[in-house]
């Protein structure tokens, strides 16, 4: 299992009777537990410490979440997005990537597991029944690594079992972990896509602290493919650095030595991008990071991106290397403009809805 150190559990007293909380306390019975009445002052206390993000990763908060937990992927304005939906089961992540946008967004830095799962299931059911004709894609990888807390509570197995009973809804588990043993024996009915975020080993070592090596991720993907799981891969963020071409080309080479490209549902490409507030935070936490050394400028959505010509060059080369492996790969760009789509792939979706339809078609071919 993915190893990380939780030092303490903070248990919201409203979550005390939830089966999720009881399950976790049983699993982690050797850890100190503090009952929490007032989450706000707990957060305030953590936020006043130096590196609350780092400390938050070692402290688990179990609490109910009464708001909406299934939302359209926030995407970004003025760019083409794919109509994905995100499921909020946990927030924050024990892995520590220098480029992680959560560092700049979360006002609750605790590793947080939401305890009211019945509410979540009800919300998903209601959402699916209101879209009976669609092939919906939902994922847990937006506010955390999808597999990160599976050692604490079997989030992914529970969700895989839930989606296996649905016909038109697909769960995507996005991860940088290699711990998949607990998923291999499950009856997934191809309704769960397990996908890995990939970067060259040099980038993983320097910028993705606490994640599995490239080699281990690929082996884990291979094991899942052998068990019939459809796979996805996300080259996101692609980081423009000295020797990037060699790094990414070799990464693609290593991947398809073990993975059958015909069974890969999708591959996304996304250049490194960041909201303005991230740079100061990340540089403070990762003084040796090199991710901000590229030519990055603010775009129409306020996020910093590589100069358009650099992005196009990176995507064109990546697409070329991927198509050389197997021309039938379904490749899409994440949060990019129509112009960039056209210049990279020779065509562009008319709009977000069109891209969503293309995903539906793709999924139909896999079930």
């Amino acid at each position: 299992m993915f190893s990380f150190q939780i030092e303490k559990i903070y248990l919201d007293e409203k979550a005390e009777n939830d089966w999720v909380a009881q399950n976790v306390l049983k699993n982690l019975s050797d850890l100190p537990v503090e009952r929490v009445k007032d989450k706000r002052s707990l957060n305030k206390k953590l936020l006043s410490l130096s590196d609350p993000i780092g400390i938050g990763k070692r402290n688990l908060l179990i609490t109910p979440f009464y708001g909406r937990r299934l939302k359209p992927c926030p995407g970004t304005s003025s760019h083409i997005c794919c109509g994905y939906h995100v499921l909020n089961t946990i927030t924050n992540c024990p892995m520590d990537c220098s480029y992680c946008v959560l560092q700049g967004y979360l006002n609750n830095p605790f590793l947080t597991l939401y305890s009211n799962w019945e509410d979540l299931f009800r919300e998903i059911e209601s959402f699916l029944s209101s879209h009976p004709q669609s092939f919906l894609r939902l994922g847990t990888g937006e506010l955390s690594d999808s597999l990160a807390l599976d050692t604490v509570f079997p989030i992914s197995p529970v969700l895989i079992a839930f989606f296996a009973q649905r016909n038109h809804a697909f769960l995507e588990l996005k991860t940088k972990s290699a711990e998949v043993d607990h998923l291999l024996h499950l009856d997934h009915r191809k309704r769960t896509i397990i996908s890995w975020s990939l970067n060259p080993p040099q980038m993983i070592e320097g910028e993705e602290t606490g994640t599995a090596s490239l080699e281990k991720r690929i082996v884990a993907a291979q094991r899942c493919q052998e068990r019939g799981y459809p796979l996805g891969f996300h080259f996101d963020p692609i980081i423009f650095h000295e020797g990037w071409e060699k790094g990414y080309q070799e990464t693609i080479g290593s991947l398809f030595k073990k993975i059958d490209p015909k069974e890969v549902v999708w591959i996304s490409l996304g250049g490194f991008r960041y909201p303005p507030q991230l740079k100061t935070i990340a540089q403070e936490r990762f003084p040796n990071t090199k991710i901000f050394l590229g030519e990055l400028f603010p775009g129409r959505d306020g996020k910093f991106r590589y100069l358009k010509d650099i992005r196009i060059e990176m995507y064109q080369k990546m697409v070329g290397w991927l198509r050389d492996v197997y021309p039938g790969l379904f490749i899409y760009l994440c949060m990019e403009s129509k112009e960039v789509w056209e210049r990279v792939l020779g065509w562009a979706p008319q709009n977000n809805h069109h891209l969503n339809q293309l995903f539906e078609e793709r999924l139909k071919g896999f079930v």
């Binding site: 130096s50 090199k290 901000f292 050394l293 030519e295 400028f297 603010p298 775009g299 129409r300 991106r305 100069l307 358009k308 010509d309 650099i310 403009s337 112009e339």
Partner: protein, 321 residues
């Protein structure tokens, strides 16, 4: 026990700076005051062996000596009367009420508390930072402690220009050689805090990406061209320096800008018509801006715009975005 007496300056050990936190003191006002009305407060000394050690009054003693005085009114403590830390705190409090401390003097005082009097840094943060009107924050203490390690000329620049703590922290991350090179680069410019931050950011990122030292950047012709320009004022030099560093930091963007500019010049546009690319070349297309005062001027402008469509350079510039 304190006694007040006239002590010959020659008996005072002027080299003992145990309790001094002075840094480049401006003695002009104090000197003219002493010259006019004499010393109003005795200095504080401690008997040490057969000489006297200064606790409070380094500046006054220095001035009395400069103006040829031989004795000074002093309050004298016995050798074992108080421990060094207590005496240092007396000196700090007296100076705080009498004159206050500049940035470097605060750094010297904090450094002495931590390294000379061996106080726990957590205690220094909690108890002594507020004494200097500083927030209780370990990072702030570390910033001041890093300042002490810097070269004298850097300290003087920081003091003279009122450099912020954030920028001090960034300067402290540089090697001594890089700091001296930085000084050659920034001294001739007139930099506000924001401009200094921008320049430091460019330098940090270029040195990290290209594995260069600041000295190597300083030697580059585009940087030397700015520094050696005789006619430019310091603020103009600061603007040019920012552009030169930006060009080094963002070479592809600079090339695109230069190509665009070259093509734009080839179009020989009227002075009241400007043609621009979108910000950072993100998105396709051009932006046209023009100004006119009369209907005739408007007609002329439309005609100039219309003629652009026939120009090869215009099509090229449009395609290049």
């Amino acid at each position: 026990m304190k006694t007040i007496q006239e002590i010959p300056i020659s008996y005072i050990d002027l080299t003992d700076e145990t309790f001094s936190v002075n840094f480049v003191p401006d003695l002009r006002r104090l000197r003219s005051s002493i010259e006019e009305i004499g010393l109003t407060q005795p200095v504080l000394l401690r008997k040490k062996h057969d000489r006297y050690q200064i606790i409070c009054g380094f500046r006054r003693i220095s001035i009395i000596k400069q103006i040829g005085g031989s004795d000074i009114l002093s309050m004298v403590l016995d050798e074992e009367e108080m421990d060094d830390l207590r005496l240092f705190l007396i000196s700090l409090h007296e100076n705080l009420t009498a004159r206050g401390f500049n940035t470097i003097e605060k750094a010297i005082a904090l450094d002495k508390l931590v390294h000379q009097f061996h106080l726990d840094s957590v205690m220094v943060v909690k108890k002594y930072l507020p004494l200097f009107n500083l927030e209780v924050d370990e990072k702030i203490l570390n910033t001041y402690l890093s300042l002490i390690q810097m070269e004298e000329e850097i300290k003087i620049y920081i003091l003279k220009e009122g450099v912020s703590r954030t920028n001090i922290r960034r300067i402290s991350n540089l090697s001594p050689k890089d700091r001296i090179a930085l000084l050659s680069l920034i001294s001739p410019l007139k930099l506000g805090e924001n401009r200094l931050r921008e320049i430091l950011t460019f330098l940090e990122e270029i040195t990290k990406r290209d594995r260069l030292t600041i000295l190597e950047i300083l030697k580059r012709p585009e940087i030397q061209a700015v520094l050696s320009h005789q006619e430019l004022t310091p603020p103009q030099k600061a603007d040019r320096m920012k552009k030169a560093l930006m060009g080094l930091r963002y070479p592809r963007m600079r090339n695109m800008e230069e190509k665009f500019e070259k093509k734009r010049k080839e179009l020989s546009l009227p002075s009241n018509l400007s043609l621009n690319h979108l910000p950072f070349f993100e998105g396709k297309g051009l932006k046209v801006e023009f100004q006119f005062e009369t209907v005739e001027g408007y007609r002329t402008m439309l005609s100039a715009l219309s003629k652009l469509t026939d120009k090869k350079e215009f099509k090229e510039i449009l395609q290049s975005t």
